[in-house]
Amino acid sequence: MSSLQRPPLSAGQGAPESSAVRLVRILLPVIVLAAGVAIWELVVRVNEIPPYVLPGPGAVFETLVKDWPVLSQSLMVTLLTTLEGFVAAAFGGVALALLFNQSKWLEYSLFPYAVILQVTPVIAIAPLLLIYLPQQTAVIVCAWIVGFFPVLSNTTLGLNSVDRNLAGLFRLYGASRMQTLRYLKLPSALPFILGGLRIAGGLSLIGAVVAEIAAGSAGAGSGLAYRIAESGYRLNIARMFAALLLLSAAGIVIYVLLALTSHLVLRRWHESALGKEN
């Protein structure tokens, strides 16, 4: 179908599977995880490695439960920063793409700087931002910097991928710019925008963590990344692992939520959200 655009990322469906194959696909990673944890515990016990060098998974879990009040508070701080950065990236990216789409001159003037902002490693920008901005703002700006570019470039791609015949039809019926944008360009770009948001979600978390680490060495802060840095100085390795575990879980949850949103929005019409059977 030429009238359907494919998004840059597919939702990752395979061919229709039998339930047995699906079960194996879920079971295999679980077995690998269990084996990894068991070997880890075994190595620590057999070699009698002290917990300030490498704590066993049992010790990590113990710390996770024991330090939950502190860690959960830090998790909330990091998640809030990520969310703020993500929302800013989503709105900023889409808004900028819409502006670029309306005015080529604006696009030519600003797009190179969007690229520069993207290719400069955020970890190098973070310390500078912390000098000029209040810490909380600087952290959000970091999350925004890494998150907005995928949204911008994907939305731009989507807005430019409008079916030519549909565009002709809109002109034939005398559609205004706003009507074309609202009824044609935005719906056409939606799968691309959602793909961009999915990337931006994970990147916002990375941006938040990078900024927290940069800020953490300066003293203040209470996010998860700061906890990791702080625990490192105190040789509280178990807590480092526990915080890392939470960050990882947060990343997974963000990805799953965004993928689910994308699926729910597109399931009635877009190829990526449909099974392969039709």
Binding site: S3, L172, Y183
Partner: protein, 270 residues
């Protein structure tokens, strides 16, 4: 893409003409001479086919009439119904592909022209229901385009073109991608729609059989640049039906039209 052409103020109403092209040429930016010069008059209520090989400019001619492209020279006159300011709304266009919005239902696809013209909602609903009934898709109003077969998608496209009740229907090889059985059925449905609604139809096709079956007048075009090389009037007893498709008359017309078309295919004996 070019902005819609400013249609010239040729007064076509007095002569009973729906469309009038005078010395129209189209040269693309690449310098390719696509069309013309072309002179073409289409009477109101007439069913005319533009027949020719791929790339002979027949689609370009249709897009010029629709105002989707501006002619390089010459004038394009399209009759305007009384009380309607915009010429675009008196024209319905059916593309080669169904060109539906995949993200919304059949009903919303058909609603599009009315929505863009900001027609009142109650009036729009009635018109949509009527257009869907005309193409026999009333039951599929809430289906999504991907759930429909190729022939049904084309019907939606036709309903969308009919929903503004245009005087002129421009069709750009609408059935070319369909299987023969579906195409025959849609041919018959189109003929009965044309008989009932009395619209002017300009139908672009590369099928001799389709053009003879459908039209009152077949205009054969040659390629590079697109010019009119021959014209045939198809006179038969109306209404036409499957009887006509198997008649000796039909075969005779098809032979004549094919012979006129043959020289435009290089490498084939004329």
């Amino acid at each position: 893409m070019a902005e819609p052409a400013a249609l010239s103020e040729v007064d076509t109403s007095t002569a009973g003409l729906a469309v009038s092209l005078r010395g129209v040429t189209k040269v693309y930016d690449s310098g390719v001479m696509a069309l013309g010069p072309l002179d073409l008059d289409v009477r109101k209520g007439e069913f005319v086919s533009l027949l020719g090989p791929s790339g002979c400019g027949k689609s370009t001619a249709l897009r010029l009439i629709a105002g989707l492209h501006a002619p390089t020279s010459g004038s394009v006159g399209v009759s305007k119904p009384a009380g309607q300011a915009r010429p675009g709304h008196s024209i319905g266009f059916v593309f080669q592909e169904p060109t539906l919005m995949p993200w919304t239902s059949v009903r919303e696809n058909v609603r599009l022209p009315l929505k863009l013209a900001q027609a009142p909602a109650t009036e729009a609903s009635a018109r949509i229901a009527e257009a869907l009934m005309q193409v026999g898709l009333t039951e599929f109003a809430d289906a999504y385009p991907r759930e429909l077969s190729g022939g049904m998608k084309m019907r939606v496209s036709l309903a969308r073109a009919l929903v503004t009740d245009p005087d002129i229907l421009l069709m750009d090889e609408p059935f070319a991608a369909l299987d023969e059985i579906t195409r025959f059925r849609l041919n018959n449905d189109l003929l009965s729609l044309w008989r009932n609604l009395r619209k002017t139809v300009i139908f672009v096709t590369h099928s001799v059989f389709e053009s003879v079956y459908l039209s009152q007048r077949v205009i054969v075009m040659t390629s590079r640049p697109g010019r009119i090389s021959a014209e045939f009037r198809i006179d038969t007893t109306e209404p036409r039906g499957e009887d006509f498709r198997t008649s000796a008359d039909y075969a005779g017309y098809c032979r004549k039209v094919s012979n006129a078309l043959a020289p435009s295919y290089p490498g084939k004996p004329g």
